[in-house]
Symmetry: C2
Subunit: 162 residues, 2 copies
DNA sequence: CGCTCAGATACGAACACCTCGCATCTGCGA
DNA sequence: TCGCAGATGCGAGGTGTTCGTATCTGAGCG
């Protein structure tokens, strides 16, 4: 089991919360992958091992773990949000291929500080993904590199948008 | 009718598209307000004047106008996206009060340029709203100012989130 | 002004993604 | 091992949106 998963489970125990099969399995799953999984993906994977775990339990468990700071969710523009073990950092999602790129929080520090000063608003850059395009998919960046839309990479359900 | 609305309608005409009641009404509505309206809000408002205009027509019309570059949609984290006449700029949405703050694109230019260079990714900062909190609602920024959650300001349906 | 028809619309069913209520079950402290 | 608060299974319900299809209409043409 990954270190972060172990930490998450210990955190549950430390706060006196129950270590249930659903919680343990979801945490292990999230700890074992670098993918950005939607609740439905998680439910499917969890049910592969424990078919009796209901999708609504997965939603509720994710919500609880999120609330307790052990996992985080990120909203893509369309389609489902995706989840990962807590490690606040922004994500960029390519509208053409669906790929998710992790970005260090530091890249946004200057912007966040300025917006806080000027607009009196504290941005949580990790909560919504930043949409855009990998340069290979950007029609403005030299069509040479641009493959047709058919060459989707990691596009799960919900990579379409305008 | 607002200047931007007139321009949008002329753009429709110039491209040989039909000026229908639904299109004209939606464009006038968006041109007449600075609010950030969801498709459902728009449908309700439009139906106030023309009850026969169906909500699915509103969705399709908005989709078309968006595709033609005359309106834009912005995704909030939860709940419905909101629409406005084309004027690409980022938005920040307070998770506590639902308020939407418009930000000039220029604030993001440096970040966008750096991300393009370093990560090979072209961010469209206007597509997803940036979530966060007005400083008055930020528990970390001196609880003195923080009103209870009940004091929602512009929170429409879907201002809740974790 | 009336004819024509591609394009637009009304309507309702269906869909994706969740959320909720409630009866049952279970982790864990006593 | 017992008791019960908290967690889960199950299915209905909700919200926001998309789609198929029959009908209608804007606008060019005569």
């Amino acid at each position: 089991m990954s270190i972060t998963a172990i930490r998450a489970i210990e955190a549950l125990r430390a706060e006196g919360r129950r270590i249930t099969t659903a919680r343990r399995t979801i945490i292990e799953l999230l700890g074992a992958t670098n993918d950005h999984l939607t609740a439905e993906h998680i439910a499917t994977a969890v049910q592969h091992a424990y078919p009796e775990i209901h999708v609504s339990t997965v939603y509720r468990t994710l919500e609880s773990l999120d609330e307790w700071g052990l996992v985080e969710h990120v909203h893509r523009g369309h389609g489902a949000a995706f989840f990962h073990l807590a490690a606040s950092h922004p994500h960029m999602v390519c509208e053409a291929c669906g790929r998710v790129i992790d970005v260090p929080q530091e890249e946004f520090d200057a912007l966040v500080a300025r917006v806080r000063d000027v607009y009196g608003f504290d941005i949580d850059v990790a909560h919504n993904a930043l949409m855009g395009r990998c340069l290979v998919h950007d029609p403005r960046a030299g069509g040479l590199l641009a493959p047709p839309v058919s060459s989707r990479e990691g596009a799960g359900p919900g990579a379409r948008d305008g």
